[in-house]
Symmetry: C2
Subunit: 305 residues, 2 copies
């Protein structure tokens, strides 16, 4: 089934211990849509400026991504400048230039109505709420960040109460819940209304809290991690993309598989700067990495205690 | 098969956000031996002072632990004072009083000879080497810490080259290898001679590097973690204890199960101060937690991409 994503398109300037790129194509909607496009039909809602070249548009078109919802406004595309230290899991924002994103009011094209799946990327919770009202999706997932948790808590709780799944990182989960312990943090967040919570933990993998069950997925132990930018949105793209693709009614096992596919897409994302590794992927790559994840945690109860 | 452990016996004074204990029974040999005693026959080699009360001795005896190798010397038992912050994974040592441990030279009783399994707790690598020469075990595992990695590197590398498995935490693996990336760190450490490396990652679980395979195990998501002291030694006790118990020849799957049993024992250890939770355990508790670990990572390839 098809999927709408609402989020940012950006030019990211990124420095890691392994190199540096200037104004690399990025943004939550970009990472999410490319990752999800391997699983299902994706409709993108975002905004770019006059500096967004037709070659980029063409790359998204090649992945079959519907761009009717991509506005092009007067001004420059959103820019983000970030630096990562040796630990790679701590992003230090050097500059944020909102540009056209500052006046972004997502409007869904008529052709997007009745799309059953929705991913709300990390944007103002008020805008997330507006999109939810425009679409009334069958299944909605949202992301957020510390900035909105601290600065727009009430609107964010309104959004969270109206989605099925919240995907955030463990630090955000602690801030949102006020609980240091992750199990307690999850209980608090689930009490706000969503059916499930997925906590991303960077190089340590992810935890999913779904009804009374907890699922733990490792991250793929990579020998070379070049750039963690976009890993979270790529995870969300694989996760929601797989759920939207699934033929069977959604159940615990499908949610668990979705976490693994999310982890697969994140593991590819970090292997190169920007979207470079994702553009170059094919279905066989994804299937092989999924099998590698299976090997990573598999064991039989051959000898019991 | 039976198992010798060489390590410290201690009185730990521990402060965590959840409380405080003074001179609580601890030490690597204590945690390891109690955890391993649920799986196999354990012979302990350590040293205590005149202040080590007969009631403690009785507790170990009740768990069937052989104490012929426990020296009682003139002076006081080793004492360690530690404080943990909110993160719980960062121990801040406030005081270390070696006392009788300062002049500890492990001598294995004749009855310990021909014991097939050996765990070398975190002590001076020179002493670890002496024990290896005294015992010539079929299967040896060692732990260490930053202090020895930095201060006694040559002797440590000698010990590491003579054991089957090294169990250390990820920070120690980075320091020992000089590699930030854990996959590279593992390759470097395996090039020193051991067949396998287990990297403990605290609340994030453990990674095992064994031949060309990597196994990832989560930590158990606990709602209440009281005191992380001894978790690593309890992990090692479950891990080596299970391998020593196994009837089948050791293979990849048994090593993976051993990582899970290690994680099970660590997950119990942190639920209370000191050894309190481990003393109160029974076999059913361990089997239930093992099953809970299985649930934590289980999924079927019900719907494939």
């Amino acid at each position: 089934m098809s999927l709408v994503v609402v989020g940012s398109m950006a030019f990211d300037s990124v420095k890691t211990p392994f190199g540096e790129v200037k104004e690399e194509l990025g943004g939550s909607a970009a990472y999410f849509s490319v990752a999800a496009s391997f699983f299902t039909e994706v409709k993108l809602v975002s905004v770019v400026g006059e500096d967004f070249s037709p070659e980029y548009i063409e790359q998204f078109r090649k992945r079959g991504i519907d761009l009717e919802g991509l506005e092009r406004n007067i001004g420059k595309t959103f820019r983000w400048t970030v630096e990562y230290g040796d630990a790679l899991n701590e992003a230090k924002t050097l500059k944020t230039e909102l540009n056209v994103l500052e006046r972004f009011h997502p409007k869904l094209p008529a052709s997007y109505c009745n799309t059953p799946y929705l991913f709300l990327g990390n944007i103002d919770p008020i805008l997330q709420g507006n999109v939810l009202k425009q679409l009334s999706p069958k299944f909605a997932v949202c992301d957020t960040m510390n900035f909105w948790i601290q600065g727009s808590r009430e609107h964010l709780l309104e959004t969270i109460s109206n989605v099925d799944i919240v995907i955030i990182n463990e630090g955000e989960a602690r801030l949102l819940s006020g609980e240091r312990n992750l199990v307690r943090a999850a209980k608090t967040i689930l009490s706000f209304g969503p059916k499930s919570l997925v906590m991303k933990r960077g190089e340590y993998g992810a935890l999913m809290f779904h009804h009374d069950q907890i699922f733990a997925a490792p991250a793929y132990p990579l020998e070379t991690v070049i750039d963690p930018t976009g890993a979270g949105d790529s995870f969300a793209g694989g996760f929601v993309g797989f759920l939207a693709r699934a033929q069977a009614p959604l159940n615990e096992n499908l949610f668990r598989q979705a976490v693994i596919y999310g982890s697969v897409m994140a593991s590819f994302c970090v292997e190169a700067f920007g979207l470079r590794r994702l553009w170059a992927l094919n279905v066989t790559d994804i299937q092989c990495r999924y099998a590698a994840f299976r090997d990573l945690t598999a064991y039989e109860d051959a000898e019991l205690f």
